[in-house]
Each structure stands twice: as structure tokens, then as C-alpha cells.
């Protein structure tokens, strides 16, 4: 036993996940090979909107190697749809926000109509994926095309075709919230500015697509589902519900998962279908989503248009924000009004704005369903707000940085009551932080604002166009409702931890080991961590919404605290000391100040065992294990200031990012190197969304970006030098002072880039109010001739 064990929280401990991944020994769902395994291929709609007239599976069923072929009609009435209410909201939120929510159910395979290109209408189970795909081609499907609802405008138009007749409208939700008196504030504001902002459709696009393997053990009546999912307990619940099994008899495991970022954050029809097929056929069944399916079928995201009006005074003080915005939710809304709710709650950002009026409509269209992706409603709202702040600055001839500083909530105002309600039903209170300091630090990192403005002027004189863009935001993290953890002291003395949080590459096993090692004062290698396995924790929630470090650590602590009560009681017995004189140290418990009076956890575990010869004090129950569910009081607020310098090539409009900086506060950093990796990875995703990535539909409802040749992910060559600075202002809301950081990086870059490009194009009065920033649009500001720059005369 080491003499003293270092504190692990705050150390960049090497990732315990790395070795097997580097050796090629990762275990992803697609890697699973079970004896007798069958393979699924899915027939997907080529129509955005159509009535099913008939599906003839005879030829497919007769094809080589086919075990089963079914269409929606075969499971209609057998398997229920995924309920539109799979995500619930608390009463406290519904009481405080005007809501009108009608989320449609999602059939696993529709029997009556198709609602988006890519929706399943039949599937084949065969001896290999090759043979299954062959058979899918033999399915004869007869559709009656319906007019496509090709976007929100079409969805909300009078007389629009209805996606879901039962709803009687193409609206999944309307949310309305207010603060102060928006109408009056607008009427009396010295200045008003109105724009339409659009944050386009793009998606998480993890390198591993989704996949499901299921195996049913009839003797034990246990159905095991391996899913590339962020939410194994959620999948378990939906599978158990659909198959009418006790949840305990369904085990859902997320093995190594190749990235998630939100797209794997809810239960999909395929999770249930593959489980059903395995039980029905009595053989293991595998479905691996290919990239084309992923683009056509896995959730898309963003896609929000804002009508936005802002009122401000001569000093640039923002008096009111009034916005109506529409989310294009696609054909279903698998995570309810979550994205919309986030946009509503995050619009005002780090600013002290007294009046706010916001109405949000979640429209249903014939497109792929929209679900949260890293940021989940925040990048969209932040794009609108932060473009507007720049426009306020322009209108007053002030520097955008100055306008931000004038409106930011000062550190002395913390905790700050926002005057809105979060979606956990609790009034929003920004708990800690120093927003102006973050912004100043970002500017300083870029060499200082004044120095940049001088450089910019000099560059312009040389015919070069450089610009500085900013984007500031706050982010509610660590949201409830809860997370579960199980902790046990093994007879070996090792600490066994399992949580409902699932990992997709973040390094949870390392982080939770660090935190548990500190809770128990053991070497980190004595902590064993299991994530993403429902058999290890009865209730869990999963890894979404920048929540796992906050919520799982709370649960691990809760369970550990309960066990430690026993450890102290037993320790007191063994060491013949008062509990008050004991401390956890060196892999066990000992008497303070007396090094030789110490018992290891192995000894404590032996003493705690049930049965003969235990050494428990009277009244102490046997065993050293506990389960805890941590229910956070509310969210803790991370925040950041992003900044970038860009240069524009006037001939081509090409945008080159010279540097990208993010000053981020995630409270106490458990593992700084991994925290850096999270923020940087997020920044590059945000950069991709801001410049390259786009899920585009034509007027007929067809997706025109069905491959990675058209959906452009950023590559190593597209990434500028990035600096991430951490302000570690501890959260007062939890024991470790941590805030969430999974999503933050992806929030600012789209608007940072747009603002930087507009700053570079200031001589032209350029405004870019939509993403992505297209080089062609940028070039157009320079006039028609690439070699003659025609600056418009100042208006």
C-alpha cells in the first residue's frame, strides 16, 4: 500500500480507455459475432410523404438466406409505437411556461403512410447483411404520393397536408414565455432592430453509426440488447414496454460506442425491432446502420429560424428581446420540445436583459426527425442573440466587445436570478462565474482588442480583409431528473462502481475512477468502473445534456457515503476507536495521527460479510454495497466566450480561420486534459456546422446530402490553431464544484465565424444572418469581378 495516495481530481490522469482501443481490441456493437446470428436490412421510403397501398414481400421471403420479412402491417397492433411522451416534463415547468404540446407517436414501421425519406416500411432478416440487402431489393411496395410538407412554412400554411391526422395540425408544440413587459419595452426603446436569423440543419455524425444486436435466452427469459446508445436504461424501458416484459428481464448494454453527441440519445424504432426479432426468431439478430441510413434516418438537428427584434438605448444597453421562432422538427419529435425549451431558456445568455417575449413553434415536416445534438437548441439561440448584439454595436458605432461588456451580468451579481424557468421546473439562477472576465481573457489571448483593430486597419490598407468575431453564451448543465450509481466494496477490497451514465468516448471510466478514488482514498487502479449496462444499476438516465460528470458523481458520492457510514462503524469496532477519530486513508480506514492503526478495505469487507465470524458492531447490516439516485437541485451554469480571427480571400471568398479561442468555465476540472479534449472536439464540430456541414433538402422533400461526399465533416486540414482557457469557478450546487462541459464547445463557433466574417467585411456593411457561412456568399460582397473590389459608397 502506498504511503499516501494523491488526490486524483484535477489531475490529467491517463485514460484507462485508451489501451484496448489502440490495440484494435475495442468491442463495438458491429464487432459482435454470436453463433447463429441473423442480419437485418431495412427497406426505407423514397417518398417524403405517401400512403402505403400495398407491400408485397413474397419475392423477398423466397430469396436466398431469408429467415423473415415483415412490413408495418405485420407488426401493427403487435408492437406499440414509441410514445410521443417518452420524454416527460415536470409540472413546475408546465406551470410557468405556456405550453401546448402534442407530440406524435412514432410507429416502429408505419403500416399506413410514410412521413420522411428514409423511414422504414419493411425489413428483412437473413443469414448475412449482403443477402438481406439483396432481398430488400425484391420487395414490391406500392405508394400513393402525398404532397410533401417540405419545410416549416409549408407545414404552417393554411390547408397544408397533415403529417399526423390525429393531431389536426402540423405542430408538435407551442411554447410561450415572458419576462418583464416585452411589448411596452419595445414601444419605448430608443432603438429597435429586427432581423431573421436562420441556423440550418446539420447533425452529430459520429464516426460509428448506430447498431443493435439482441439475443433472447428463452430458458432464463432474459433479453439482452446491445445498442450503440447514450441511454441504455431508456432503451431498456421502451423495449420492455413494447415486448411486455419486466424491465429487469431486459438487459441493455452499450459496449464501446463510437461517438454519440446526442444522436444516440433516445430510443429508436430499430432498438425495439431488433429486440423483438431476436425474441421472435430465437436467434441472435444484428442490425448495423450504414452511413447512408444514418444520414437518411438517424436524427438531424438544429434547423431553427428566428424572427428576432431587439430594443436598446443609446449606450447599447439591451432593453428587450422579442422573438418568434420555428423549429423544423421533421416528421416526429423524439425528444419532445427539449430543443425548443433550451432555445427559449438560453436566449438571453450572459446578459442582464430586463424584458423578454418569446414564442416558439415546433413544426412537423416531411423530413428526418430533429433531436438534440451537442448544444441542443443553444447554438441556434446563441447564433440569433450574438448576431443581434453585433448588429446593435454596428448601429451605434460601438465595438461589439464593448456592447457585450456593457450588458453582461457582473460577477458581483452572482447568483443571478434570470426571471425564467428551466425545463426541470426550477426558476433559473446563474449560480457562479465571471462573464466579463471570460470575454476579456479571450480578447487578450488574441493579442488584445486595440492591437487587433490597429492590425485590421493596416491590413485593410493593404487590401486584406481580416475580422474578429465573438460569441458568448451560458449553458445549463447537469440537468436532472436523476442519475443512478451502484457502489460496492468487493471482498478483494477493490471499489466497484457502476453508473447509469453511458460513455461514447468522453472517458467516463477514467473520470469516475478519479472521483471515486478520491472519495475512498484508494489508488485509482483499485477502482473498477462499469458504464452503460442496465444489469449493473437498477435505474439510470444516461449521457445527454452535459450532465454525466455532475449527476453521476453525485450518485457515486451518495452511494459511497452510505457505505462509508458502515465502514466507519466497522472500523471503529476493529480499531477500538471512536468513529470521530477515524479517517479514510491509504486504501482503508485508520485512526487519525496513528499510522499503524489502519485497516484495509479488504479487511473491512471481510468484517462486513454476512454470516459466521463477521466483525460488525451490533445493529450494522451485512455487506458493503449501496445504490443511490442523485437528483440535482437544478442545473449548474457553465459559460464561455468564444473568439476568432478570420481572413477572407477577396477573389474566392474563402474564409481562413487564423485562430480560435474559447474561454470556458466548467467549474472544477476533474481531468484537465480530457476537459480540453471535450471543448476542442466541440469547437471543431461547431466549426463544421458553421462552415461545411449541411443536410439539404430539395423542394420535393428529397435529402440531397446522402453521403459523406456531400455532407462535409471538417478534416485535420480545416482546423485552425485552437486555444482553450478554463476559468474554474466552482459550482456551489454540488459537492465537487463541477459543471458540465460536453456540449459547450459546439455552441459558439457558428456565430463566432459569422461575426468574424462580417467584421472583416465591415467596409461593405455585410450581414450574414444564416448558417452555414458560404464562401460564395462571402465573395459576392466584393462585387462581380474577382479582381476589382467594388466597395459600396458609405450609406
Amino acid at each position: 500500500m502506498a504511503e499516501s495516495i494523491p488526490g486524483y481530481i484535477g489531475q490529467s490522469v491517463p485514460r484507462r480507455e485508451d489501451r484496448h482501443l489502440l490495440l484494435g481490441e475495442g468491442a463495438f456493437v458491429a464487432d459482435m459475432q454470436l453463433p447463429g446470428m441473423l442480419h437485418v436490412a431495412i427497406a426505407r421510403s423514397q417518398f417524403p410523404h405517401a400512403t402505403i397501398k400495398g407491400i408485397d414481400l413474397a419475392a423477398a421471403r423466397a430469396a436466398e438466406g431469408v429467415e423473415l420479412a415483415i412490413s408495418g402491417a405485420d407488426i401493427h397492433g403487435v408492437l406499440p409505437p414509441i410514445s410521443g411522451m417518452q420524454v416527460t416534463t415536470p409540472q413546475g415547468w408546465r406551470d410557468r411556461v405556456d405550453t401546448d404540446i402534442l407530440i406524435p407517436d412514432q410507429p416502429l414501421i408505419p403500416h399506413d403512410k410514410m412521413r420522411f425519406v428514409g423511414e422504414p416500411y419493411a425489413l428483412v432478416v437473413a443469414e448475412s447483411r449482403y443477402l438481406a440487402e439483396d432481398a430488400v431489393e425484391l420487395i414490391e411496395a406500392d405508394f400513393d404520393p402525398l404532397p410533401p410538407v417540405a419545410g416549416p412554412d409549408a407545414a404552417l400554411a393554411d390547408g397544408a397536408a397533415l403529417l399526423h391526422d390525429v393531431l389536426g395540425r402540423n405542430i408538435a408544440a407551442i411554447l410561450h414565455t415572458t419576462k418583464g413587459d416585452g411589448a411596452k419595452a419595445l414601444d419605448t426603446a430608443p432603438h429597435r432592430l429586427k432581423r431573421r436569423f436562420n441556423h440550418h440543419r446539420y447533425a452529430a455524425m459520429p464516426m460509428e453509426c448506430r447498431g443493435v444486436v439482441a439475443d433472447y435466452d428463452a430458458r432464463r427469459d432474459i433479453l439482452t440488447v446491445w445498442s450503440s446508445s447514450q441511454v441504455v436504461h431508456w432503451v431498456r424501458r421502451e423495449v420492455a414496454n413494447a415486448l411486455d416484459m419486466p424491465e429487469e428481464r431486459v438487459i441493455c448494454i452499450a459496449p464501446d460506442v463510437g461517438g454519440g453527441f446526442g444522436v444516440k440519445g433516445h430510443c429508436y424504432p430499430e432498438d425495439i425491432l431488433v429486440a423483438y426479432l431476436a425474441k421472435r426468431l430465437g436467434r441472435p439478430v444484428k442490425w448495423i446502420e450504414d452511413r447512408h441510413e444514418h444520414l437518411l434516418n438517424a436524427a438531424h438537428s438544429r434547423d431553427i429560424a428566428f424572427d428576432f427584434e431587439i430594443g436598446f438605448d443609446d449606450d447599447g444597453r439591451i432593453l428587450v428581446v422579442d422573438t418568434d421562432f420555428v423549429v423544423d422538427s421533421g416528421a416526429y419529435s423524439p425528444v419532445g420540445a427539449g430543443i425548443a425549451g433550451n432555445s427559449v431558456a438560453h436566449m438571453l445568455g450572459p446578459y442582464d436583459i430586463p424584458n423578454y417575449e418569446c414564442t416558439c413553434t415546433v413544426a412537423l415536416t416531411n423530413r428526418v426527425p430533429n433531436a438534440p445534438y451537442r448544444g441542443a437548441g443553444r447554438p441556434e439561440a446563441v447564433f440569433a442573440m450574438e448576431r443581434a448584439v453585433d448588429l446593435v454595436a454596428n448601429a451605434l458605432g460601438l465595438d461589439p466587445a464593448e456592447v457585450r461588456l456593457r450588458n453582461m451580468i457582473p460577477p458581483e451579481a452572482m447568483p443571478y436570478e434570470v426571471g425564467l424557468t428551466y425545463r426541470d421546473g426550477v426558476p433559473m439562477v446563474y449560480d457562479s462565474g465571471d462573464y466579463p472576465k471570460a470575454l476579456r481573457a479571450a480578447l487578450e489571448e488574441l493579442g488584445g482588442l486595440e492591437a487587433f483593430r490597429a492590425r485590421q486597419k493596416q491590413a485593410l490598407a493593404e487590401g486584406r480583409y481580416i475580422g474578429l468575431g465573438l460569441g458568448c453564451y451560458v449553458e445549463g448543465t447537469g440537468v436532472g431528473p436523476f442519475e443512478g450509481a451502484s457502489v460496492k466494496i468487493d471482498p478483494s477490497g477493490k471499489i466497484m462502481v457502476a453508473t447509469g451514465a453511458c460513455a461514447q468516448g468522453q472517458g467516463h471510466e477514467t473520470v469516475f475512477a478519479q472521483m471515486a478514488a478520491d472519495m475512498w482514498k484508494v489508488p485509482i487502479d483499485d477502482v473498477y468502473v462499469t458504464v452503460g449496462d442496465t444489469s449493473q444499476v437498477t435505474q439510470g438516465y444516461g449521457t445527454i445534456a452535459s450532465r454525466s460528470t455532475v449527476t453521476a458523481s453525485g450518485a457515486i458520492k451518495g452511494a459511497s457515503d452510505r457505505i462509508q457510514e458502515k465502514v466507519f462503524a466497522i472500523g471503529a469496532e476493529l480499531l477500538e476507536a471512536a468513529e470521530n477519530d477515524l479517517e479514510l486513508r491509504d486504501g482503508g480506514i485508520g485512526v487519525r495521527g496513528v499510522p499503524e492503526l489502519h485497516r484495509t478495505y479488504r479487511e473491512i469487507a471481510k468484517a462486513a460479510k454476512p454470516g459466521w465470524d463477521h466483525q460488525r458492531p451490533e445493529g450494522t447490516e451485512a455487506g458493503l454495497e449501496a445504490v443511490s439516485y442523485y437528483e440535482p437541485p437544478t442545473v449548474t451554469w457553465a459559460y464561455a466566450s468564444g473568439a476568432a480571427i478570420v481572413e477572407i480571400d477577396p477573389e474566392t471568398g474563402r474564409v481562413t480561420i487564423e485562430r480560435l479561442v474559447e474561454v470556458h468555465d466548467a467549474g472544477v476540472l476533474v481531468n484537465p486534459a480530457m476537459a480540453d479534449g471535450q471543448v476542442k472536439g466541440g469547437l471543431v464540430q461547431g466549426l463544421g456546422g458553421g462552415l461545411f456541414e449541411e443536410l439539404a433538402y430539395d423542394d420535393f422533400g428529397q435529402l440531397t446530402t446522402g453521403s459523406l461526399m456531400d455532407y462535409l465533416l471538417p478534416t485535420a486540414s480545416d482546423v485552425p490553431p485552437i486555444t482553450v482557457l478554463h476559468q474554474e469557478v466552482p459550482s456551489p450546487l454540488n459537492a465537487f464544484g463541477v459543471k458540465g462541459l460536453g456540449e459547450g464547445g459546439a455552441i459558439a463557433p457558428p456565430v463566432v465565424i459569422a461575426n468574424a466574417v462580417c467584421d472583416a467585411l465591415r467596409p461593405f456593411g455585410a450581414e450574414l444572418n444564416s448558417t452555414p457561412v458560404r464562401w460564395g456568399d462571402v465573395a459576392a460582397f466584393f462585387g462581380d469581378d474577382p479582381f476589382e473590389i467594388s466597395e459600396p459608397s458609405p450609406a
Binding site: 447483411r129 449482403y130 440487402e133 439483396d134 431489393e137 450504414d290 452511413r291 447512408h292 477573389e651 474566392t652 471568398g653 474563402r654 461545411f692 449541411e694 439539404a696 440531397t704 446530402t705 453521403s707 461526399m709 456531400d710 462535409l712 471538417p714 478534416t715 486540414s717 480545416d718 464562401w775 460564395g776 465573395a779 459576392a780 462581380d784 469581378d785 474577382p786 479582381f787
Partner: protein, 290 residues
């Protein structure tokens, strides 16, 4: 995304390839590097019943110095071209363009003959052979046929190669003395097909041009010879003003489409910008001591 069934045959000689093509046309496809064909087969957008694999035909893979020109076997890999001193010295434009093709693992397999036969309008090699007036050597049941590059490309993914013929070699004229070349392109990301690219070779006498060869990719149904721009330079020399004028003419003589990645108007603008850059760089290379 698994390909539909087909039969793979791997002949060892050109004679066998030609016989197999005759036997199985039009349902057979020759398989060169596969970097464009296999993706569309995986999407089941292409479903040949027979694939005639050219990768075991040694007589199709070579680079030969034939005095006035290099003869490049169709199955020569882009990676081989990239690493060839002979190509770098004798056909620097082809060498420069090759470096812009995809990524190293793509060039490991991709071949010049495959790229030319695929005739993707945005591909680099077609613009190069058009600019350099290369001769395409085709082989069919009735023997060899030689086609000028200008007559080879017949639109999007279409060439003059008959269903029972195979492109077997490309004759690439050697760069003259006092010449310089450049391949310049703009793509949304490194390694992507070009939004617009220009291949240029300029031969000087003193400071004046005696020959200008220009072709563009990504801005028409196939590679586009920029004849108007060439004429402008030959008439007015290589001043900045003449180069800009030529670049503007180039923008007018291409025929781009609008797609997700760029509008037609933007592609014309890029054509002008790339033409100017290619000309400036080619001239600089021509003047550089070799």
C-alpha cells in the same frame, strides 16, 4: 451498403481483357483502382454483372519514356505518378495535378486510366490530358485506336471508349524547354473534388509566351479547354492586365452548374481566380532555373 452480386474475373493479359469485354459487354465493367466504381457499387447505384479486374495485368502498368512523350499505362497508380522523378521532370503538370487527387490511401489504389475513363467533371486528370493535348490509346476487338483528348470526353461520366474497348495508355507530351506549369484548384476541403481547378502550361520565348495550354475542371459537364483565355495570352502577353483579361474570358467560356456546394456564378468567379493563379504560377515555374 453492400454491393449487388457480380462475378469477379482477374485476367492476366490485355488479350484476355479484350476477349472478356467482348464476351460480357455491356454488362461488364473493367475494375481499375476502384476508388470511384466501388463506392457507387456499395450504394447499388452501379451493378455490373461481371467485373473484369485489371489489377493483375502487368502490361497495363508502366511509365515509359518515348522521346517526345511519356507513355503511361492506364493502370499506373496515382501514387506511382506522384513518386516518379520521370513524371515530375517530363510532365510536371501531371505530377502537380496528381498531388491534388483525393488522399494518399486513395492514390495508393487509384489509377490514371480509371480516373480518365470515369470522366468525373470535377476530376483533375481529365483537365490535365485535355490541356496537354494527350493522346488516349484505346484497345478493342479490332486492335488499337488513338483518340485525341479533345475527342475523348463526351460529357458527364461519358467518354469515346466503346463498350468493348479499354483505355490502355495515355501519351503525355513532354513539357518543352522554357515551359512551366501549374495545377491550381479550390475545394471545400483538402482532398475533395475541386469546385474549380485549372491546369496550365506556358512556354516562353524570352518573356513572351509561345504556347499557352489551359483547361479547367469542376466547371462543366467535362474538362473544359480554355481556348479563349489561351488566345488572349498569346495575343497580349503575360502582363497582369492580360492575365486578368484571360481569366475573365475563362470564366465566360466555362459551363458550370449550380449544386449544393457552389452556384454556377460562383464557379465562374473561381474559374477566373484559379486561371489567374495558375498562369502566374506557371510563368514563375517557367522562369525558375530547372
Amino acid at each position: 451498403m453492400k454491393p449487388a452480386p457480380f462475378v469477379h474475373v482477374a485476367p492476366g493479359s490485355l488479350a484476355e481483357v479484350v476477349a472478356l469485354l467482348a464476351e460480357h459487354a455491356p454488362d461488364a465493367r473493367p475494375l481499375a483502382g476502384g476508388q470511384s466504381l466501388v463506392p457507387v457499387m456499395n450504394f447499388r447505384l452501379s451493378r455490373p454483372s461481371v467485373l473484369i479486374d485489371l489489377n493483375r495485368v502487368p502490361e497495363l502498368a508502366y511509365i515509359r519514356d518515348d522521346g517526345t512523350h511519356l507513355t503511361v499505362g492506364a493502370m499506373t497508380r496515382q501514387r506511382t505518378l506522384e513518386n516518379s522523378d520521370l513524371v515530375r521532370k517530363a510532365a510536371p503538370l501531371l505530377h502537380a495535378a496528381t498531388l491534388n487527387i483525393g488522399h494518399l490511401p486513395i492514390r495508393s489504389r487509384g489509377t490514371i486510366g480509371g480516373s480518365l475513363s470515369n470522366a468525373d467533371p470535377a476530376a483533375e486528370d481529365p483537365a490535365v490530358v485535355l490541356a496537354l493535348d494527350c493522346v488516349m490509346v484505346l484497345h478493342g476487338p479490332s486492335g488499337e485506336r488513338r483518340v485525341a483528348a479533345a475527342d475523348f470526353f463526351e460529357g458527364v461520366l461519358a467518354t469515346a471508349t466503346g463498350p468493348d474497348e479499354l483505355l490502355v495508355a495515355i501519351e503525355v507530351p513532354k513539357a518543352p524547354a522554357n515551359s512551366g506549369s501549374a495545377f491550381v484548384e479550390i475545394a471545400r476541403r483538402h482532398g475533395d473534388f475541386a469546385l474549380a481547378g485549372v491546369a496550365a502550361q506556358v512556354t516562353l520565348s524570352g518573356d513572351g509566351p509561345v504556347s499557352v495550354q489551359l483547361a479547367a475542371c469542376g466547371v462543366g459537364p467535362g474538362p473544359v479547354r480554355l481556348s479563349g483565355a489561351e488566345a488572349e495570352i498569346l495575343d497580349h502577353g503575360l502582363s497582369e492586365a492580360a492575365i486578368r483579361a484571360a481569366a475573365r474570358i475563362a470564366a465566360a467560356e466555362v459551363d458550370p452548374d449550380t449544386d449544393l456546394h457552389a452556384t454556377a456564378a460562383y464557379r465562374r468567379r473561381l474559374t477566373a481566380a484559379m486561371t489567374r493563379r495558375a498562369l502566374l504560377q506557371a510563368v514563375e515555374n517557367a522562369k525558375a532555373p530547372s
